[in-house]
Symmetry: C2
Subunit: 351 residues, 2 copies
């Protein structure tokens, strides 16, 4: 690539949001491009990630992982190009991806142990951030391990058009299941059907009787529920459990606006007992030793044509907080990424 | 026994209770003592059962098993003496027990397939209704199968002095766990400690900060929660989950007063996700093919002195509804039974 700039743009957390974040919770600053130390690499960002889990990391509340403090560069995954290397394992021009360690900035010094090298000949770069990244790995283990799907299961997936949901629906189909998505707009519902979902419930259109709409889509009940949302969507699913239903709690994006306040609503103790359902909290990091197994399978499904993703890619580092807020307001269609630099690989054909 | 009467007393359901039942929901009537048909036996009741599950059977709401309709004899288990037999498998004088099939009445015609013969030399008759009956079998599978207790686990049991709870605490100890009970009075707490619980939380005395009281009793968090109650007790436990906690939903007696109304309160989606907890609905009937395994083990623990039960035995068939209401109001200490006829076995030493 061309000559290295001396400064770059970085988004720092300005303050903890009280409920839903606003753009004011971050501040764009200019910093020196750092020099890599011994055994380190300097990477130029191409695509940076925004994802629901980030809401939990910008809160003083207890969470499953350390958070970002006001003043810190916002955390986040990214994929980019090595521009300087002090290790023989990487050469300038290599493409590397990291799940959390890049941060919302144009350049990052990274440890080789914290990144993975990517073969851009196998798939366009955005795929390494989603289908072959933590989203795909999450869907893979949530369905195949935590829920243990079996052919014939009716599998309901909330946030079905989201980054985990769109992969989860396709894995359910690959596993011989009936896949029913829950999403928030006709456009997202159409996208889900294109990716192979058998039926889709638009929870905004069906808000007068969401339990009834789910019952219609799942006349024999819900065998597996991949819960990416919590809240009223989950309440409606819980009224439609088949005997021995398995519920995997993957996300709780509907609670994003109420950090610090308890989530009050109906509790489904009797329904869970009577159905002899299993509810499991799920954190993908518990599967770390098996990530490579999942990635290899996801890449091979993609190469065979059995798996594809939709992307919603904003342009320019200035748009990072805005893209994150679009995601929290479920305005994106497909995995939300932000392109912050030139993509050096062949035209990806995605946009 | 002496000559057979021609009539006997029966409690029939008069009406569905609206919330907590009252004595008026049943009516005592006099009926003809039935004659056993071919391959049937006539049994005289000695002890009849009252149990929390009965609340779910006297409601028009959907439940996991068929209910009693107004006009029907109230269902329930019992242990008694065979007085007439039309099958070679039973002789007058044999003691038999049935989990549900006796009904609240002095005599019942039973099928041999619906009863089990009891060896009264092994243990006093009330034990066959509790520790070696469905209560013990429930505790056995809830802990050893559904929760899969391991030595060192902190096991919290609600309704700890109840018919399932008192056995569950002892099985937790036999499994090398720390057993912490939650109960409703100093007298019940003392009873739990006598049976081997390591610590007991009196939820009425601690109602100002029940989560804090549980935290103090479980400083390393709750690994296993045997939930016999639902409601605010469970809410307090859910705030103290250890990573990978297992929660087994066995009962929901705190909801007895709100049939037909949803149970509203805090929902613990984030806590469950972050702890990667598992919540499992549990019905003992799923283990039917393995009941004998559990009973054999429970009898052998009793015979070795490792297991004992406390009983609270009311006298006289007139007191059946009152004994059931005592149970729903958690006024009993130990397994609540009602003795409705002479115990033909040697003095049991229980009272």
């Amino acid at each position: 690539m061309s000559t290295l700039p001396t400064t770059h743009k970085q988004w720092r957390l300005a303050s903890y949001p009280e409920s839903l974040p606003t753009e004011d919770n971050w501040a764009l600053s200019e910093g020196a491009v750092p020099a890599p130390g011994a055994n380190q690499i300097l990477v130029r960002a191409v695509y940076l990630d925004v994802a629901p889990y980030m809401r939990g990391r910008i809160s003083p509340q207890k969470n499953y992982a350390a958070g970002v403090k006001p003043g810190d560069v916002m955390l986040g995954g990214g994929i980019g190009e090595v521009v300087q290397s002090n290790t023989k394992h990487y050469q300038p021009g290599d493409i590397v991806v990291t799940d959390f360690g890049f941060g919302w900035q144009e350049y990052a010094v990274l440890q080789p142990s914290g990144v993975r090298k990517v073969d851009p000949a196998l798939a366009p770069l955005p795929y390494w951030m989603e289908a072959f990244g933590l989203n795909g790995v999450t869907a893979y283990f949530a369905l195949l391990d935590a829920a243990a799907i079996k052919p014939g299961d009716t599998v309901v997936i909330s946030a079905a058009a989201g980054s985990v949901g769109q992969i989860a629906g396709q894995i359910a189909k690959l596993g011989g299941c009936r896949a029913v998505g829950i999403t928030s707009s006709p456009g997202k519902a159409a996208g889900c059907r294109e990716l192979g979902y058998d039926d889709v419930v638009d929870y905004r259109a069906e808000q007068d009787d969401l339990p009834g709409a789910i019952r219609k889509a799942c006349p024999n009940g819900v065998d597996v529920y991949i819960d990416n949302t919590a809240g009223v969507i989950s309440d409606a699913v819980m009224q439609n459990l088949a005997p021995h239903a398995r519920i995997v709690l993957v996300g709780s994006i509907s609670l994003a606006g109420r950090f610090g306040q308890p989530d009050i609503g109906p509790r489904f103790h009797r329904q869970t007992l009577i159905a002899r359902a299993t509810i499991r909290g799920f954190l993908v990091s518990d599967y770390l030793p098996r990530y490579q197994e999942a990635r290899d399978r996801l890449v091979s499904w993609y190469r065979s044509g059995a798996l594809k993703s939709k992307f919603d890619i904003a342009q320019g580092i200035e748009n990072l907080p805005r893209a994150f807020l679009r995601l929290l307001n479920s305005e994106n269609v497909g995995k939300q990424l932000v392109q912050v630099g030139d993509d050096p690989t062949a035209a990806s054909g995605l946009h």
